[in-house]
Symmetry: C2
Amino acid sequence: MSEEVGGAVRGAGDAADAVGAVGSAVRGAGDAVGGAGEGVQWLSGEEGRAWLGYRRMRALLDLQLTRDLARDSGLSDADYDVLSNLSESAEHRLRLGDLAAHMLWSKSRLSHHITRMGQRGLVARRDCPSDGRGAELTLTDAGWEAIKSAAPRHVDSVRRHFIDRLSAEQIRVLGELTETVVDHLGRIQDG
Amino acid sequence: MSEEVGGAVRGAGDAADAVGAVGSAVRGAGDAVGGAGEGVQWLSGEEGRAWLGYRRMRALLDLQLTRDLARDSGLSDADYDVLSNLSESAEHRLRLGDLAAHMLWSKSRLSHHITRMGQRGLVARRDCPSDGRGAELTLTDAGWEAIKSAAPRHVDSVRRHFIDRLSAEQIRVLGELTETVVDHLGRIQDG
DNA sequence: CGCATTTCGTTGACATGTCAACTAACAATA
DNA sequence: TATTGTTAGTTGACATGTCAACGAAATGCG
C-alpha cells in the first residue's frame, strides 16, 4: 500500500473525480497515516465534496470572470473593485486607509495599485483636507466612464457563470452560509 | 442624487453592511444609471447577498487559512497544493503538464514555483522516461515529511474556520451548488 | 509647551505570477 | 528519411503583491 496523505480515493468516475484534487489532502484514509496523522478528524464524504467543490469552483470562476472582465472592459479584478468602491462612495472619494480596510488590502498594496491606476488616468490622489498625513482617492471622469461601462457587462458575466446557474433555494442557503462564516471570521480579526 | 453604479444601498445595519462592498457594483438601482446601464439585470436582494457574501467569505477565509498554514507549517497555499497533489499520486510522482492542468495553473507558473520549492528541498525534477521532452516532479523525503505534518493542522484550520461552522444541510447544498457551477465552467473550457 | 507614541501613507527590496519567445523532442506525412 | 507542424517545458522581461523601514503629521500626556 502506497503512502498518501488525505487519500480516501473514492470510486473512479464519481462526483469527486469531476471536482478534482485542488486543495486536497483534507479527506483522510482514517488511520492509514502513521505518526503525526493520528487522531485527526479528516473530512467526511459530504464535507470533502463541499470543500473541494468550493475550492474548484473558486478557481474556475475566478479564471472565467477575470477573462471576461479583461476582454469586455480592459480591467483587472483589482481595478474593478477599486473603481466600484469609489463609485459607490459619497462624492466618489475615499480615504486610502478606509478603502484598504474595506477591501481587505494592505495599505501598501493599495498605494502601489493606485499609482498604476493613476498613470492610466482612472483615479487621482488628493491631499486630505482634514488630516495632513492622509490622502483621498477620487474617481476621474475616465474612471467613472470605465466603471459605468464595465459594471453591466460584469453583472452579465456573474449571472451567466454563477447566479443564473443556481436555484433560489441554493442562493438563499449560500447567502446564509457565507454570512455565518463571515461573521465568524470577522470576530477573529477583532478579538 | 449622487451618481453611482450598482448602488441599491439597503438600510444601514442590515446584513448587507456586514458583508461590505467587496465585489460590488453588481446590485443595481434599476434605471438610476443612465446610458450604458439600460436594460441591465442587476442582482436582486437575495442574489446580491449571496454574491457579496461569497466574495467576502472567500477573501477572509483565504487570509485566515493562509495565515494558519504559514504559522503552523511554514508553507504557502501554493506549496501545500503542490505537495498535496504529489502525495496523492501514484509513487509520489507526476508529469508537470498533468499537475499544472489539474491545479489549473499555467506551465510557466508551475515551472517557476517548483524551481523555488526545489531549492528548499521539498521536491525534485526528473527526466521523464517515456517522453524525452518531459519532466516528472517527485516528492523528496523532506517534502513528504512536510505534507505529512502540515495536512492534519490544515484540516483542523479548515474545520475550525469553515466546515464546522456549517450545518449538514448547508454542507450538502454547498456541495451540490459548487458541483453545478464547476460542471458548467468545465464545459466552457472544452466547448 | 515639549516629548514620546501612534497613525497615515509611501517607498524599495524582494517574492510571486503572467506573457511571449524559445529549445528540444515527438508526431504525421510525403 | 526529410519536412513540417505540434507539444513539453524553460526562460527572461515585466506586472503585481508582500514585507519592513521610513518620514510626516496627529495624538497623548507630563
